[in-house]
């Protein structure tokens, strides 16, 4: 059967056009029920039981559930519980969910894919008996509700055909839309709200906890604490008329009654204060803001204000008074006066699930409790649970449901427990969840894309490739590295160049991940979503399954592997004479650590093929490095630290700053060279959709404080260009203070912008520039096992040399842009997660330990100096009380009597851990030297703590590298 769907749409140019689409109706679609006597099901096509057992006491007879869209959108946590089964998901619902929330859509698809759950997706929109046309004037929502009811009625009749009366399953429609329920009942469809249904389910403890609470419509003003939000139509009108502005809400980390809205076109973020100013916006929400007239503008409060209530204080907003008392009226000429406004409506909630702990109600046996999120920007949440005794000692995950006007806190529901507070696995889980790092076990669909465990390279594959198995290729990595992305070789070529220089062949061989990760497979989608392997201390969250990352793709020593090679011919001055790319098969002669390679190079007695190859590489790398620096590349520094992990408890026992060897930079140089060569090739071949990486020059304002601090030390740094900057950094040396220059570079790093992935079509060629590396074009090619950007780059490069297919999504600029957005987001989150993991392990390490160490001042703040402990690479604030210290804002110095603290100063500090807040433990830095009576820590105390520490250290166990395989050569 054939029909058409007609609708109007607007083109980019603003013309309204009519679109007519064909819509085919079929008679061969199955109902999926084992009770069916009519559809021609094959055995494996029965999804729904013939006699489903009822778990709901309201409906004791066998029945299938049909859900409406809102039930899926709001109650996905209930659906994910292994409780409700024999559920029919209509295509109408599936498409609406897909349209409204892709994350929930994916979760729903996973439930449907799980055969045990018995969720059947019925294609009602293409079934000849269930498709309905939209009536003239009918709203899309109403039409869809009608389609759902039509399908429910159809199932009921369909299953009754040729069945004995009372012997076939009935249909129960779950919808929270009262009006829809009323119509359904009139039409003879059994229906129920999800709450009524779940409350009457027996045998599934905890299911009720997962019920999302959506109560009290915004219009209801009974007991309201907050002003009503405007309706979407009012917001739209207001924004169009210029009275309102759309922005993103950012809650303050320090003050729970303050936040800002970042609005396009406003230089400063808009200040939002107090309960009514914030009006239930949650960090990240897209909001509508009304900006006050200028005479009502205020300045940020600059105080720390925590929600201290240790039990639910009920529905009142008492802090308002405190807040207003503290906000002084604006003083004249104050440049901290900030445009101020209030939230008048929510455009889109950006709620996710939040980690935190349960604050048990003081009333015994109570089911309503407060939840305290780990993220300070998120308000406490009211949840209902009957398991509070168990959960009180756990890290738990909670979803937000709604925030009615009459509720002081938002309402949410318990999702799951993550483990005991303080347990390493639970804490890691928190880090991963809070940074939105996808880390679930790889799904069956993903694993199904993998080759067998004993896969070997087929003969015909070898024939398609350049056979480099006889070349002396080796890899150099950090110790314990199991995901070896890259290997190298170098050899002298006969004859000289025209200029009489020696010729060499140098090859960089990169794991051929795209041979296994084919476009559009479940594996590919998973890797794309993860975007990167995430390294926590002692744990690695792989981008692709272990079989690939640690075995089949990893270029292990002595094993034949597929590679994507970039081979150059260079002269002895490291000038490239010729570049070629090809797929190859290699057999690495050795997988070495940086240290092993360094020892081999230095060992004069060795002269084998591996060593001579390494020596050529090393010599060329030094020339490449020199060239890069001469070009203006910045040699920056960031303190990277390494934990030694106890082999039994997996707790950190020691921490130290990482060492950098010659061989580190040897590998790095060739990786940079390969990345640049590939970038050039891609940009030429795919001007619209090459995936590249750029690093914008930092805006001059970034350097402001840094330059001032350097000047105090007598150095006038020139930051006009990267070249000038690099030169003046090199010159800034203080004899006798070797760490000074490193410190300078550490601080310079912090003035930089983030490098970012982008699609060549979205930027001008000038914007391709990589400031840090001082090269006009750059990309990532060398780590496809752990970075998805490199996977795409491999595909593009393969297509450009004609050895693999291009496909539509690879060549679409729009798609490329959205891929880049995701890559950039995931990379940032992965970095933050890595740092959070280091912090957590530092806390474990210093749990029962106090140390006295040398520290350098990185920055001077209003109430603290920010210090770095070079030995450990740890840093944090050393708070200075305002009754002892005076802050000079102009000079960025703190003074106490004749003692002056300024940036780059060296201090002695005591390190210890403050565990008073379980969710926010922190390292405490206290001043030892210079000695300030009544403030510095007493020397005697110091001696004591030292003795204690030494005792502790005797217990130290064998050394295992912490960031087991993290590589330092990423740039």
């Amino acid at each position: 059967m054939w029909t058409t769907k007609t609708f109007l749409t607007k083109t980019k140019r603003g013309n309204i056009i009519k679109i007519v689409r064909e819509h085919y109706l079929r008679d061969d679609l199955l109902c999926g029920s084992a009770a069916c006597n009519t559809c021609p099901h094959k055995d494996d096509e029965f999804v729904l039981d013939g006699k489903p057992e009822s778990i709901c006491s309201l409906y004791s007879y066998p029945h299938y559930l049909i859900l409406d869209t809102n039930v899926v959108l709001h109650q996905i946590d209930v659906l994910e519980e292994d409780a409700l089964s024999n559920v029919i998901i209509l295509q109408t619902v599936l498409e609406e969910v897909k349209h409204q929330n892709t994350a929930i859509y994916q979760r729903l698809l996973e439930i449907i894919a799980n055969k045990k759950r018995k969720f059947y997706s019925f294609v009602n929109e293409h079934h000849k008996d269930t498709y309905i046309e939209r009536n003239p004037g009918e709203k899309q929502n109403d039409r869809n509700d009608r389609a759902i009811r039509k399908a429910a009625a159809w199932y009921e009749t369909h299953l009754s055909i040729n069945s004995v009366v009372g012997q076939f399953p009935k249909i129960v429609l779950l919808t929270d839309d009262e009006n829809n329920r009323k119509i359904a009942q009139e039409e003879g469809i059994v229906c129920c709200s999800i709450k009524d249904y779940v409350e009457n389910v027996t045998g599934f403890i905890g299911l009720l906890d997962k019920l999302s609470k959506n109560v009290a419509p915004e219009a209801c003003s009974k007991d309201a604490l907050y002003p009503a939000h405007l309706t979407p139509a009012q917001i739209h009108e207001g924004i169009r008329g210029g009275k309102l502005h759309q922005g993103t809400f950012r809650a303050s980390r320090d003050n729970f009654l303050e936040g800002t809205a970042v609005i396009n076109g406003f230089e400063k973020p808009i200040l939002l204060q107090g309960h009514s100013g914030i009006n239930r916006a949650v960090d990240g929400d897209s909001i509508a803001v009304e900006i006050f007239p200028e005479e009502e503008w205020r300045r940020p409060m600059d105080i720390v204000l925590e929600d201290k209530a240790d039990d639910d204080p009920g529905d009142q907003l008492e802090e308002e008074a405190v807040l207003l008392k503290n906000t002084k009226p604006v003083e004249k000429g104050d440049d901290e006066i900030t445009p101020t406004g209030r939230v008048v409506g929510i455009i889109r909630r950006k709620w996710r699930q939040y980690c935190g702990i349960l604050m048990k109600s003081k009333f015994p046996g109570a089911t309503r409790h407060l939840f305290v999120p780990a993220e300070k920007r998120i308000p406490r949440v009211r949840i209902e649970t009957r398991q509070s005794d168990v959960l009180a000692s756990q890290r738990i995950l909670v979803a937000l449901d709604s925030w009615p006007r009459n509720s002081r806190y938002p309402l949410g529901h318990f999702v799951r427990a993550l483990g005991k507070i303080g347990d390493k696995n639970a804490e890691n889980e928190v880090i991963l969840l809070e940074h939105d790092v996808p880390h679930a076990r790889f799904s069956e669909a993903v694993l199904a894309c993998l080759p067998p465990n004993d896969w070997t390279i087929p003969e015909e594959e070898i024939k398609k490739r350049v056979d480099l198995r006889s070349e002396c290729i080796c890899s150099v990595d950090p110790p314990g590295c199991t995901d070896i992305d890259d290997a190298l070789h170098a050899k002298a070529l006969p004859g000289n160049t025209e200029d009489g220089l020696k010729r060499y062949e140098v090859g960089v061989h990169i794991a051929d991940v795209t041979h296994f990760v084919r476009p559009n497979t479940a594996l590919d989608k998973e890797a794309a979503n993860r975007s990167t392997t995430v390294y926590l201390v002692g744990r690695r969250i792989d981008m692709v399954p272990d079989l690939l990352s640690s075995n089949l793709c990893s270029l292990r020593g002595g094993e034949e592997r597929l590679a994507f090679s970039c081979v150059w011919e260079v002269d002895e001055n490291a000038n490239i004479l010729h570049t070629k790319f090809h797929k190859s098969v290699i057999k690495s002669a050795a997988a070495m650590t940086y240290e092993e390679a360094q020892i081999a190079i230095d060992d004069k007695s060795r002269n084998d093929a591996i060593v001579s190859s390494l020596r050529i590489l090393n010599a060329l790398a030094k020339k490449l490095n020199r060239k890069r620096l001469d070009n203006g590349a910045l040699s920056l520094s960031s303190p990277e630290i390494r934990f030694q992990i106890d082999s039994e408890t997996h707790d950190p026992v020691e921490v130290q700053a990482k060492k950098i060897l010659d061989t580190n930079s040897m590998v790095e140089e060739f990786m940079l060279l390969a990345n640049i060569s590939v970038a050039q090739r891609l940009a030429a071949e795919f001007p619209q959709c090459a995936l590249l990486r750029r690093h914008p020059a930092p805006p001059p304002a970034n350097f402001h404080t840094f330059l001032k601090a350097a000047k105090q030390q007598g150095f006038d740094l020139d930051v006009s260009t990267n070249k000038a900057f690099s030169k003046s950094l090199d010159a800034a040396v203080i004899p006798g203070r070797p760490f000074f220059n490193t410190l300078l570079r550490i601080m310079a790093t912090r003035c930089m912008q983030q490098a970012q992935y982008f699609s060549s079509g979205s930027k001008t060629v000038e914007e391709y520039y990589h400031y840090g590396l001082a090269c006009p074009i750059y990309t990532h090619f060398t780590s496809p096992i752990r970075r998805y950007a490199d996977v795409i780059v491999h595909r593009l490069l393969a297509a450009s040399i004609g050895c693999d297919v291009t496909h539509a999504t690879l060549l679409d600029t729009k798609v490329a842009n959205s891929v880049c957005d995701n890559l950039n987001y995931r990379h940032r989150q992965a970095q933050y997660a890595g740092r959070a993991s280091v912090t957590m392990n530092t806390h474990i390490l210093f749990n029962k330990r106090v140390e006295v160490e040398l520290a350098s001042v990185l920055a001077v703040k209003r109430n603290a100096v920010h210090v770095l402990i070079p030995k450990y690479g740890l840093e944090g604030p050393l708070y200075l009380p305002s009754d002892k210290f005076t802050y000079n804002e102009e000079e960025h110095i703190q003074t106490c009597g004749d003692i002056v603290l300024k940036t780059f100063d060296e201090l002695t500090v005591r390190l210890s851990l403050d565990s008073s807040n379980l969710q926010h433990r922190k390292l405490v830095f206290e001043l030892v030297k210079p000695h300030i009576p009544g403030f510095s820590v007493d020397i005697m105390e110091v001696e004591d703590s030292k003795a204690e520490t030494e005792k502790d250290q005797k217990k130290r166990k064998e050394e295992t590298p912490a960031k087991s395989s993290k590589k330092s050569k990423k740039k």
């Binding site: 054939w2 058409t4 083109t11 013309n15 056009i17 009519k18 679109i19 007519v20 689409r21 064909e22 819509h23 085919y24 109706l25 079929r26 679609l29 295509q91 929330n101 892709t102 994350a103 859509y105 994916q106 698809l109 449907i112 294609v123 929109e125 293409h126 960090d283 990240g284 950006k350 996710r352 939105d436 996808p438 669909a445 894309c449 084919r518 476009p519 559009n520 497979t521 479940a522 594996l523 590919d524 989608k525 794309a528 979503n529 297509a799 693999d804 297919v805 291009t806 496909h807 539509a808 999504t809 060549l811 679409d812 729009k814 798609v815 959205s818 891929v819 995701n822 987001y825 995931r826």
Partner: protein, 259 residues
């Protein structure tokens, strides 16, 4: 923070998890085809075809004596003109006809039709084929070929066999390629390579092949196969239309048209 875009996958999913295409067809199903011969009385032959929402009119004049400049000693000259109506696509076109694209398509049509006609029967003569796309919703070229075939038959011009044309492209389901036959406009604009094949199915001969983008050799054969099967399916439909038309003609007159 949480990010909806992370989960979003680029590109439109051309096949649902139940294996249906966006308009409800299975991968191997043609769109609804309706066609009619002899829709005009003025030309020597004419036909109208609808493939889904793609609608094409064809008119054939000839064979008549060729202009001296073009005339060939031992064969017929095919003059084919393809144009799209201003109202044929969603957004109204500015210029009614001509344009480089239309000219290129006219050339391609000429080539395809030339291979199908028994050229040697009409030395020094010319056949004009006019094609007007009334509505374009994917596969306008293929529909034009099919319309031309019917109009030529209506004009009584002997052909080696039915010349049929069909498109195919590739979609992905669970990471495996699945070729789609008779590609609609929505499917075309999803961005994949579209293969257009014009063939003479009954004598197993391919008249013309075109690809909108590069397509890897690994997938070419499956897509080609699907397009060829599409041509065969279309041949059945065209043949039925011709027979029905002949039936009608018989009742009106005894001038049987030979094929």
């Amino acid at each position: 923070m949480s990010s909806d875009f992370n989960v979003k996958r680029p590109g439109l999913e051309l096949l649902s998890s139940q294996g249906l295409r966006l308009d409800g067809r299975r991968p191997n199903e043609l769109r609804r085809i309706q066609c009619k011969l002899g829709v005009f009385t003025q030309p020597d032959g004419s036909a109208y075809i609808e493939q889904g929402n793609t609608k094409v009119l064809a008119a054939v004049y000839g064979p008549h004596q060729a202009a001296k400049s073009k005339s060939l000693q031992d064969s017929v000259v095919i003059n084919c003109q393809y144009s799209m109506a201003t109202f044929s696509t969603g957004e109204r076109k500015k210029r009614p006809r001509g344009g480089r694209k239309s000219e290129a398509i006219s050339m391609q049509l000429t080539q395809a039709i030339t291979t199908a006609i028994k050229k040697e029967l009409y030395p020094r003569s010319q056949i004009d084929v006019y094609l007007e796309v009334l509505q374009a919703d994917g596969g306008a070229y293929s529909a034009s070929v099919n319309a031309a075939t019917l109009a030529l038959i209506d004009a009584g011009i002997p052909m080696k066999a039915y010349l049929c044309s069909c498109t195919a492209s590739i979609a992905w389901k669970d990471g495996k390629p699945e070729p789609l036959v008779d590609v609609s406009h929505v499917e075309e604009s999803a961005g994949g390579s579209v293969l257009t094949v014009s063939s003479l199915p009954s004598i197993n001969s391919v008249a013309w092949v075109d690809m909108s983008q590069r397509l890897h050799a690994d997938y070419l054969s499956v897509v080609m196969k699907r397009a060829m099967q599409g041509c065969r399916d279309i041949e059945v439909i065209l043949d039925k239309a011709v027979r029905e038309h002949l039936g009608e003609s018989w009742t009106m007159s005894d001038d049987a048209v030979a094929i």
